[in-house]
């Protein structure tokens, strides 16, 4: 069965909003966009992981990535993202999706994702996509969490783990710390 890997930048107080750029996500008058950029922890966390894994994305992350990545000329990641299959959860978008190799998840998202996991192929990566992650968590569809925990307390911003999420035990499978002090913790749900 294909795994779903949630790969996320977080602060010590659990904020996930707009790690990459100031204009990435200003919802809630968020002023700290780009907080993860100086740490550049993504590269150390496993470029291999991001290499060509198909992506599961929420609509917002999809639109943000699409507005940004295809327009970068000098970044090898652009081609990777253009060519990798992208599965998008949205209540508003209609097919065909504009970005190459993008597919809309139809019907109930959890059911659609559960069906995708059954198909043969590579593991899925979820980046950003806070709302989608919460849906996946609620349905027990996440197999691995790779959390890049930055030594920052922002005090505001959207969190990955919102109040009222599921409670469950996990297993720590790996930790490492980058030169700049980002903890990379890998967790798996504990098997019942």
């Amino acid at each position: 069965m294909r795994k779903i890997i949630v790969f996320t930048n977080l602060t010590l107080d659990g904020v996930m909003q707009a790690p990459g750029r100031p204009d990435e996500d200003r919802r809630g008058d968020f002023k700290h966009g780009g907080w993860a950029a100086p740490y550049a922890a993504m590269n150390e966390a496993g470029g291999n992981l991001a290499d060509a894994a198909p992506l599961l994305m929420g609509r917002r992350t999809y639109e943000d990535f699409y507005a940004y990545w295809p327009n970068q000329t000098d970044n090898p990641f652009t081609e990777v993202l253009n060519n990798t299959p992208k599965y998008v959860a949205s209540r508003t978008l209609k097919e065909p999706l504009a970005w190459t190799h993008s597919t809309l998840l139809k019907g109930d998202v959890a059911e659609a994702v559960a069906a995708l996991k059954e198909q043969p192929g590579k593991d899925f990566l979820v980046m950003g996509s806070g709302e989608l992650v919460q849906t996946l968590m609620k349905h027990g569809l996440v197999d691995v969490y790779v959390l890049l925990i930055h030594p920052l307390i922002l005090g505001s911003g959207r969190r990955l783990f919102t109040d009222g999420g599921p409670s469950s035990a996990l297993q720590l499978v790996d930790t490492k710390t980058t030169m700049k002090g980002v903890m990379i913790a890998t967790y798996q749900p504990k098997k019942e």
Partner: protein, 186 residues
């Protein structure tokens, strides 16, 4: 002069207790934890403890804290209302109920600790007061491999820039507990 160390154990989703106020899910490893290096170090370096009323109330019998609690040092309990009956003390472990705020509690604890450190046991409100008042020198956060879903968040209401942690140490302990130590830059 010792340091003021704010210690807490948090779930992956960022809670330091569950909705019922219980911390049980965060300490399945209590016995093993006592044997770990960071804990031994903390026990050795701590000269006094500051805790909130809630942490104090977690003891089933306050008279049993003396002689049984890990830290057998002077304890300063931050509270609005001291208990009617003073709990049992020993030569090493005394109780002071501080009703005039966190600054006062830390100042008294520092005096009692001498050259040793003051360890602040972080219930959310005590932790927040300590951070907001700029009283902590170090932040020790343990992250346990569990989702609690809801509960208290220790950093609620902290403004950006108010606390700038710089990593000093990250250790993986048995049971998937990640022990981290940050110094706080002022």
């Amino acid at each position: 002069m010792g340091k003021v160390i704010l210690g807490m154990t948090m779930s992956i989703d960022g809670f330091i207790n569950d909705p019922s106020g219980s911390v049980e899910a965060l300490y399945p490893d209590l016995a093993a934890l006592q044997e770990t290096e960071p804990m031994k170090e903390s026990l050795q370096k701590t000269g006094s403890v500051v805790m909130g009323r809630n942490s104090f109330a977690m003891a089933e019998d306050p008279d049993k804290i003396a002689g049984n609690y890990e830290y057998q040092v002077p304890i300063f309990v931050l509270t609005h209302q001291p208990p009617k009956r003073h709990p049992k003390e020993t030569d090493r472990l005394t109780f002071t109920f501080v009703t005039d705020g966190i600054e006062s509690a830390i100042a008294q604890a520092k005096a009692a600790a001498g050259d040793k450190d003051v360890t602040v046991i972080g219930a959310a409100s005590t932790a927040q007061q300590c951070l907001k008042a700029g009283l902590a020198d170090e932040l020790h956060i343990d992250i346990m491999p569990v989702f609690l879903g809801s509960g208290l968040r220790p950093f609620e209401g902290i403004r950006e820039g108010q606390v700038q942690p710089e990593r000093m140490k990250v250790v993986e302990l048995p049971g998937g507990r990640i022990h981290t130590e940050f110094c706080i830059i002022r």
